[in-house]
Symmetry: C2
Subunit: 144 residues, 2 copies
DNA sequence: TTAATTAAAGAGTTCAATATCTTTAATTAT
DNA sequence: ATAATTAAAGATATTGAACTCTTTAATTAA
């Protein structure tokens, strides 16, 4: 469904959010460990999230990554997906046709339309705060 | 959503079905042309579909690919998707966790569950016959 | 039985995503 | 100032999907 980079990005940002809710910065090694992702690759993903202002980074001793408390509730899943994978997953044609539309539909257009709309709505309405509190509650997990 | 191979496979089998409904065999070059896919790659995909008995192939003059008329109504989208992409798309975790379940859910498990179920149901209930007749009706298209 | 036509099979290539490694820059503590 | 710590940046490597090419096998028609 999503690229690996996108999966790691979502897992990372959720973990950083849980830490930020406890006013703790976290380093990329700790993040990679907690979300069970390759260290160096995670670092690259964090750079991208940081450059796009979804997270803040601080170098040096006691540095690491964090998210502003006000910001956590304002980041929605679709923003992260858009950044890493674009909108192809919930806008593109199910059969990969470049020109597929209501006016010129592929054979599965009507069937996929429903799925795409559900997915799009879900990504637009799910924010990082609720996912982070899920982790904090202990009912949801970022790794085995 | 699906791999390119899977997309081409679905497009191919729909086109072969429309031809078979007119009792015409079609060669891989014609198929590739009609679905706007690379020729050699399409040939490989057809081999796989053929080996797995979704289509029949005949070599030599007037050879090509076809589907038995009775069979067309009995092939469902999920069978093709399973063959090329496995069941990961509608069974796997949205965040790529190996162990994600109702008992040990990832943060987006509940949200994705709905999408996955919709997708799964759609793939289980959509068959090649209805898609092929859509093409024949002129209301749906396999390429621009 | 030869030539033409068609798919099958297997090896090889290309490319983008995934992942790693090394060097540089910023920050803090001593 | 120096050392330690942390992320940024850029180059490199690996892998698997996407795609191609060449040879072989089967079938049919002349």
């Amino acid at each position: 469904m999503f690229s690996k980079a996108c999966e790691y990005a979502i897992r990372s940002i959720i973990f950083i959010a849980t830490s930020s809710l406890e006013e703790k910065r976290v380093g990329f090694k700790e993040i990679a460990e907690e979300i069970d992702a390759p260290e160096a690759f995670t670092a690259k993903i964090l750079q991208k999230l940081s450059k796009n202002n979804f997270i803040q980074s601080t170098r040096g001793v006691n540095g690491g990554f964090e998210i502003g408390l006000e910001q956590i509730k304002n980041i929605y899943l679709h923003e992260i997906v858009d950044l890493f994978d674009g909108d192809r997953i919930y806008k593109g044609c199910g059969l990969g046709l470049a020109k597929c539309s209501n006016e010129h539909p592929c054979p599965v257009h009507d069937q996929f339309k429903i799925i795409r709309e559900k997915l799009s709505q879900m990504l637009q309405t799910t924010n990082i705060y609720e996912l982070a509190t899920g982790i904090k509650s202990g009912n949801y997990f970022l790794r085995t």
